[in-house]
Symmetry: C2
Subunit: 342 residues, 2 copies
């Protein structure tokens, strides 16, 4: 497997490497027609494939961006990544996707590895716990955009959901259906991750605006594997909640699993709304009402903002963040409590 290089092509076509290079880069401005043909022919005969690595070294651009998702297990991450890819492909950029597994150490490793690989920019779903690194990239004027989360004090523009609005939509819907005992379960907030905080805020504000009390027993922020226990506790209350807002897809899954285990019928015995529109929502029994994120638009925006920074070589952010409106996907997991409608 001896590789054929540009020099081989040049010799075969009886021109210089420079000319071959011009040809490849479509700078035919002054190139003779016969020369062009000879090169084309040589490339074909030798089965020549340019070595992008060599080009990148010289050009100091790899036409590749890195994407580091906090946790690939979230549906959201997969869908947004796909949209980022599409946006980048359109600009002839490639995409390398890495999964930080919610682990700041892994996130750090990937940031360093991708930068060592000379990717031209980074889209990060930040874990939030690598402030020094984030700051360093800013200082170096390295193109970065955040997705899903923002990091306090780090002025990198972030593509995010209107999170408070998402909770609010869910609560409004619950209340309109006559639900009053509404709980919320979000992923753990140890890391102070912004969407979790905002969704919690939205929940509280919405309850207040409906003049409903905020009960500590109805609020849980826990790891996925503790959701069951949290539900256990809630359901053992004298006044257990009758409706639950699941803060993300993983929490929703746990809630549904819990319901199954304890033979609670969704809607009938327990109303549920999930933030994140899971793929099975529409054909679940009953179909699950969710608050959908415009994942495609968000990914597209993230890709475009990053490409813009890369091209313009300006990494300053004129906008702190790009917020997107959620959509309520009304299905059948919320019970209508006739008598209590406001």
């Amino acid at each position: 497997m001896k590789t054929v290089t540009m020099a081989d092509v040049a010799k075969h076509a009886q021109v210089s490497k420079s000319t071959v290079s011009q040809y490849l880069n479509k700078r035919y401005d002054y190139m003779g027609e016969k020369t062009k043909l000879r090169i084309e022919q040589a490339i074909y005969e030798l089965g020549y494939q340019p070595n992008i690595i060599a080009r990148s070294l010289k050009q100091k651009s790899t036409k590749t961006i890195g994407v580091i998702v906090a946790n690939i297990l979230h549906n959201f991450s997969t869908e947004v990544s796909r949209a980022i890819e599409d946006a980048c492909n359109r600009a002839d950029f490639h995409t390398i996707i890495c999964n930080a597994d919610d682990d700041p150490a892994k996130e750090k490793k990937y940031i360093e590895m991708l930068r060592a690989k000379q990717v031209d920019g980074l889209i990060i779903f930040p874990t939030g716990n690598n402030r020094d690194l984030y700051q360093k990239m800013l200082d170096e004027n390295y193109p970065v955009v955040f997705v899903d989360r923002s990091v306090e004090g780090i002025p990198v523009s972030s593509v995010m959901l209107e999170n408070e609005r998402a909770s609010e939509m869910a609560i409004d819907y619950f209340v309109n259906k006559g639900q009053k005992r509404i709980a919320i379960i979000t992923a753990s907030m140890i890391e102070d991750v912004s969407p979790r905080l905002e969704r919690m805020e939205g929940y509280k504000k919405a309850l207040q605006s409906h003049k409903l009390a905020i009960l500590d027993e109805y609020i849980k922020s826990v790891e996925p594997d503790q959701v069951e226990e949290a539900l256990q506790e809630m359901m053992a209350l004298d006044q257990p909640p009758e409706a639950i807002l699941a803060g993300n897809d993983l929490v929703l899954k746990e809630v549904l699993q819990f319901a199954k285990l304890h033979h609670l019928n969704i809607a009938e015995d327990l109303s549920v709304i999930g933030i994140d529109d899971v793929p099975y929502a529409s054909f679940y029994t009953p179909p699950i009402t969710t608050v959908a994120q415009p994942t495609f638009k968000m990914g597209k925006m993230a890709g475009e903002v990053l490409l813009d920074k890369i091209n313009k070589k300006k990494t300053t952010d004129e906008r702190p963040d790009y917020r997107f409106e959620p959509t309520l996907m009304v299905r059948e997991s919320v019970k209508e409590k006739g008598g209590y409608v406001l």
Copy 2:
């Protein structure tokens, strides 16, 4: 953002570039302790990060492999990819994952792009329609392994499920539950993709071994968006099927959606088994019985076989393929037809 290079470090530490390079590659055999310290210091002070692109160019190895999945929408693809990544990470290899979208043209584009990026080897879930390219890689002794599918006449070793066995397990289970009117729906077979064929074969053989007739009306191979229509037809038969084997996760999804739409209760009105253990199977109502592929093991094997080829520089395959046993995940989507048990 002027990047600091090895030359800068060398100057700062007052040694030559060679020595810095030795240091980075941990060839300290004969390196003076003070030199080592000075270099370490210089690297730290300058915040030096090696440029992997430059190294790759010289070493002719990127320590990166490419993975091209036929269709990332299959759960199977995602899980196997994750396992491949893990296996590669362990050997300090990176992974670039691309999605061919079941489109041979895209597959071709990605194969060429990844090879241009000098990845050291390729794991492909082949679409099957790029025979020339596959053959070319073989001829060039380029390291490749296939996953999920094999390609007739292309002797690249492939990591696959024991597909016939998968269908057989499902049919045996149906029959043991007293089901006799068993249909199968697989994805379209226009492309002659091996697992689909094998699953179909397994279905037929299993029916025969149970002395059940093979009815053409009970066999459909269609695109996901035609599954509904196919079901429509089947269910309109004088003797509609009472059990359905869904050939993969996407088909299963369509079947469940169809059941929902037509108010058919799974198990009660229609028994179902799906090949591929979908994430929601365990908490669906009713929980869905599936035939699971050992995705983790398969991905690990694919990664290891490829790394082996890369390291040993031998790309000949001592084994045509690596077959894995499926597992029946018994849940509750198959009705026990008491009276009819054999």
